[in-house]
Subunit: 201 residues, 4 copies
């Protein structure tokens, strides 16, 4: 029984760990623009000019890390798995595994005129992830599989927090066309918020 | 004894989790066609135009996920490992690890005149995977390693289901030259079918 | 105590599983040689023309798989870890993690005049891996960490087998300049040999 | 309780194992400089000319391996997790997951005039990692979560060692503008030093 949850958690952990580590592939070694040699100061300049990549990576890294912590918190309250849990979890993992893509789009276009579309795309994925977490929470807290000994106070708090995810990320997505940076700031504020509200982990 | 199966399962889970997460590498950040800047609406258009990539990724993701669930179901009925199980399992893992490649081919050519060949290639891999699962099932249910307490009803049902894999995927492969979309629809229908028939997981 | 070996084995398994799955990245989606569209039959032809990649992948996949099995066999005979075991194991993992690179070189050049150098490079890595396995075996079977209950017969057999690795792979490397295909055939024969001699796994 | 640390350790191990294996992606198959065919001796020459890549990979591989060992040593002295440990550990994992990037930069520019900037960047990351390890050590050895039975002698030794990390890597970073090779040599000497001082692992 608990062994089932065990293997599901281990598989999910694997996907989280791989997705979070694949983010590094978004960073590209700068090349000399012309065939010519590149000097030390040019290389330093090129590395600094990639700041949007670093911001995108750090934001995505901590967001995925927080999601992993929350996934952990949620599964500690679950007694066993069933098909519904398996597929809502699968839907969440699909979205998590895909995070490196909008991150790379954001990194490439954050400092260009296309930033609004890139941020929209990025925030859009997190709206979906917010929905997936909400669905997973609903699947996890069903009478038939929830741990009977789970403190009701804790379940109530998680329920409330997870309901906040989709509207807050929608806010970020709505801000993107007007101010890409505001959208990013909301995304960052949100992972800090999830981190703090974890409290008990 | 069970520790052996444990490490084999953990290794297999690793390959499944990595293969499923590597699918994201198939998604490519769209670049400006000319040296010029790309506008927000152009970027949005380019991202939408990549719909074949998204379809390919989602189909492959859920197919691999279902395969992982079935792998799990199968190994719960096995008491210990031997060389035959190890190598049929190795053959399956080879095919699973390779899934990102036909997925990328499908993504690149689904919306082009080369779609029939791409779908053929894609469905062809799943024919092989169907065969590998059938062989793994046969290896797993041998007298010498099957769990004596496994419910015979369940083994009978799995036997029947796994026999269906190769012919059904062959049907998809046969449809590909005439209608790539029909081939893809069959592949999608099949993972939904495997998902439903899992029932007990 | 056994927990230490446990975490070392889990880490090693991770590296084996990732290296074996990264082999797929060596397969490249064929592109139209000119800007023009690619037809279904051209795509099919291009996919078939990549046969050296498929051979390279399958050979490397099964070789790494066999190495994982042997790693497993070896660690079952070890009671605890120490610095020497940790570093010989680290040296082996370095070489395992690097396998996708010579595999990609082999895939790209097997059907070209540069095949001798590519096969030399490929076989050369396996000479080093043979040496690493031999060193790991020596480290594992030291009085201070070997499992006292390990059957001496089994240790003797493993000792003999592992001594064969370096000379046999050196033979493959020596054959490469004259016949790349012979070198590859020896490499393939060797993983079949390791597979059979595993016997007890 | 210990299960929590267990899942955190497993997740961290995953990130270490993936980051260490992704280093191989930095190695690039050499291509013919012109459209023409490449001969066996040209391929051999090109593979040898990539020595900076091999040096960069080996240095990074063993550094990450040593970090993994130290992470292991540290967590054996911890009784449970809390938010602080989770986030200092997250900060360390972020930096570990990023190691393949400066490694690739180093590989590409070590044999060029831009080597000072590349080595600076590489050593700079390890300064940060040294800081992260120091912070993690402080978080781990707090009264509230440290294992009460941890030998004080051992904690004292670790405390002293980890305090050395940031200044010693800063020394490497300071040397980089004058002698890239000296910077690299210090980095190499440091992982040998960490390896030796591990002693008990």
């Amino acid at each position: 029984m608990e062994k089932e949850t065990g293997r599901l958690e281990a598989f999910s952990d694997g996907v989280f760990a791989i997705a979070i580590t694949l983010l590094v592939l978004e960073l590209k070694v700068p090349h000399a623009t012309e065939g010519g040699e590149i000097s030390a100061s040019m290389l330093a300049g090129n590395l600094l000019r990639q700041w949007p990549s670093y911001i995108a990576l750090v934001t995505s890294f901590f967001t995925v890390l927080i999601m992993w912590v929350h996934h952990h918190v949620l599964f500690k309250l679950v007694r066993k798995t069933d098909a519904t849990l398996l597929f809502t979890n699968g839907f969440l993992l699909l979205l998590v595994s895909v995070v490196p893509f909008p991150t790379a789009v954001l990194a490439e276009y954050l400092a260009t005129p296309a930033a609004p579309a890139a941020c929209e795309f990025y925030a859009g994925l997190f709206v979906l992830i917010g929905v997936a977490f909400y669905l997973l929470m609903r699947a996890a807290f069903r009478e038939s599989i929830v741990d009977k000994q789970a403190p009701p106070e804790r379940i109530r708090r998680l329920r409330r927090n997870y309901r906040l995810g989709p509207p807050l990320y929608t806010l970020a997505a709505a801000a993107a066309p007007f101010s890409p940076m505001a959208a990013l700031a909301i995304c960052t504020a949100l992972w800090v918020f999830w981190a703090i509200t974890t409290g008990e982990c």
